[in-house]
């Protein structure tokens, strides 16, 4: 059959970010997808050699606006490992709480975008309405909606008092019941199911082969979550890894919805257990040495590598972000899909292009 090539992007209405795919079609079926990247490449890793390592933290937070908090936190963890310092326990718990708040807002954002991708506008608006409440909490506690700049090498810059923490937990009950009825639409509604069920199947073997990470991998039945490494306060918190054996888009939706409710529970536990005390220790001097940090972001496992040579600038800073790993899986699930499902499939990996291209 004759083949047509349809260019997708860089400017397109699906994602806010530019991505370009050349879709090779046979009739309505995709036979191949050829990506090209670099539309938001800025060259941030190189900037590490021009900025003081303390200032560079604020650049790292801007790798991606959605996981901004986690990027900053990973950078601090790496620097703390190089300095060989242990941060106060209270700071660890505060970091855990903020991490989960970021996960909540990121997953709700994704649910909204997914709804938008299959053309369910009202569902998109509802998801983002609930997300605003999470952003209010982030703003109350850090001062920023997205870019919080609350991490420091050696701890955190702001504390939350008892009243605020209890206030958050109190709001969770209402939000959870709202979310229950919202997520029921994603999982049970016939039209939504028709768009998601058995669309974009990534088998367990393929997920391993193509190195999928995060919810993408867990939706293919692989039980792996970097939070179980016990960084920050995750070691003291009891949670199960959420997986699904569906391997399709619906399973990915299911895993992320499960993680939303799990995040509420993690924050509840952290609020109940948080100890009193200092939130920051002072760290002096210049770093010398290497560190590698693995961290579970909303989109999956991110890997950071830092090398310092005793000067004010880092010698090398490198990030491997979750979307970078998941793009291979995307290119695996696109061939064979219907053309109309392409936006949806791109969204199911929860792409963050600015992370990937930096």
């Amino acid at each position: 059959m004759k083949r047509t090539i349809v260019p997708f992007g860089p400017q397109h209405p699906v994602l806010p970010e530019p991505i370009h795919l050349d879709l090779v079609l046979e009739d309505e079926k995709v036979v191949e997808a050829i990506p090209s990247f670099g539309f938001v490449h800025r060259g941030m890793e190189d900037l590490a050699s021009k900025r003081d390592f303390n200032d560079y933290l604020y650049v790292v937070e801007r790798i991606c606006g959605i996981c901004s908090y986690m990027h900053g936190m990973s950078y601090c963890e790496g620097a703390e490992r190089i300095f060989g310092v242990e941060i106060p326990d209270r700071a660890k718990y505060l970091r855990t709480i903020w991490c989960e708040l970021s996960r909540l807002h990121s997953h709700l954002l994704w649910l909204g975008l997914l709804a938008d991708a299959f053309g369910f506008e009202a569902l998109f608006m509802q998801s983002w309405r609930i997300r605003e409440k999470i952003l209010d909490m982030v703003e109350d506690s850090t001062g920023g909606r997205l870019i919080s700049s609350v991490n420091l090498i050696g701890g955190v810059a702001r504390d939350m008092d008892r009243e605020m923490l209890d206030g958050f937990v109190k709001q969770f009950d209402k939000m959870e019941s709202e979310l229950r009825s919202l997520t029921k639409v994603f999982l049970k509604d016939t039209t939504v199911r028709a768009r998601l069920f058995e669309v974009g199947v990534l088998t367990k073997t393929d997920a391993i082969l193509y190195g999928a990470v995060g919810p993408m991998m867990r939706a293919s039945g692989i039980e792996l979550d970097t939070r179980k490494l016990g960084y920050a306060a995750y070691g003291d918190i009891d949670f199960d890894i959420i997986t699904s054996n569906g391997c399709d888009s619906l399973a990915r939706c299911e895993v992320r919805i499960g993680e939303i409710f799990q995040s509420f529970n993690i924050i509840r536990q952290a609020v109940a257990k948080i100890p009193d005390g200092e939130i920051c220790i002072s760290v002096k001097g210049n770093p010398k040495g290497e560190a590698t940090v693995r961290m579970e972001q909303p989109r999956g496992e991110a890997l950071y590598y830092m090398k310092a040579n005793g000067t004010r600038n880092l010698e090398r800073f490198r990030v491997r972000t979750p979307t970078f790993s998941n793009i291979y899986s995307l290119l695996k699930i696109l061939p064979g899909a219907q053309f109309a499902d392409v936006p949806l499939l791109i969204l199911t990996i929860d792409p963050c292009i600015s992370c990937t291209e930096r």
């Binding site: 209405p13 539309f39 600015s354």
Partner: protein, 150 residues
């Protein structure tokens, strides 16, 4: 706020932002902020757009895309630079791939500060853009001032 003669459609494009401003642009369209009450509709097609919201600075690879989108928009058109990156390059201005703010590539009418720009300020920027658009359409309608860039 004066009366406007038309409901302008906006389009959003990501120059090379960190995503922070992008999702704030989207958030300003959702129930809490809701710019649709100003008659603004978000569109994905430059040929239907009156206002272009650009987030992030301009990098060398994206430059031609931004130029192309700008040239595809019908006159009169207004460009709003959203976020410090779009205004001047922001934290990324020393990166090797960043050319600078949006005004290094296409003319900008309204600058919205902030990192990330808050939805409130984005709405304010759009309201100012509406006024600029109104002026531009009045100028292009007047027969004596036939200049296309007016």
């Amino acid at each position: 706020m004066p009366k406007f003669t038309k409901s302008p459609w906006v389009m959003h494009y990501d120059g090379s932002s960190c995503n922070g401003c992008d999702i704030e642009v989207l958030a300003s369209m959702t129930p809490l902020y809701d710019i649709e009450r100003l008659g603004v509709v978000n569109t994905g097609d430059p040929r239907q757009a009156d206002i272009l919201l650009i987030t992030g600075g301009i990098n060398y690879y994206n430059e031609s895309v931004v130029r192309q989108i700008y040239s595809q928009m019908p006159e009169p058109k207004v460009v709003v630079a959203v976020g410090i990156c779009a205004c001047s390059g922001g934290v990324f201005r020393d990166c090797y791939n960043i050319k600078g703010g949006v005004d290094t590539t296409i003319p900008v009418d309204v600058y919205v500060p902030g990192c990330a720009a808050r939805p409130e300020s984005i709405i304010d920027g759009i309201v100012q853009a509406l006024e600029v658009l109104e002026k531009k359409s009045a100028a292009s309608a007047a027969p004596t001032e036939g200049e296309s860039n007016a």
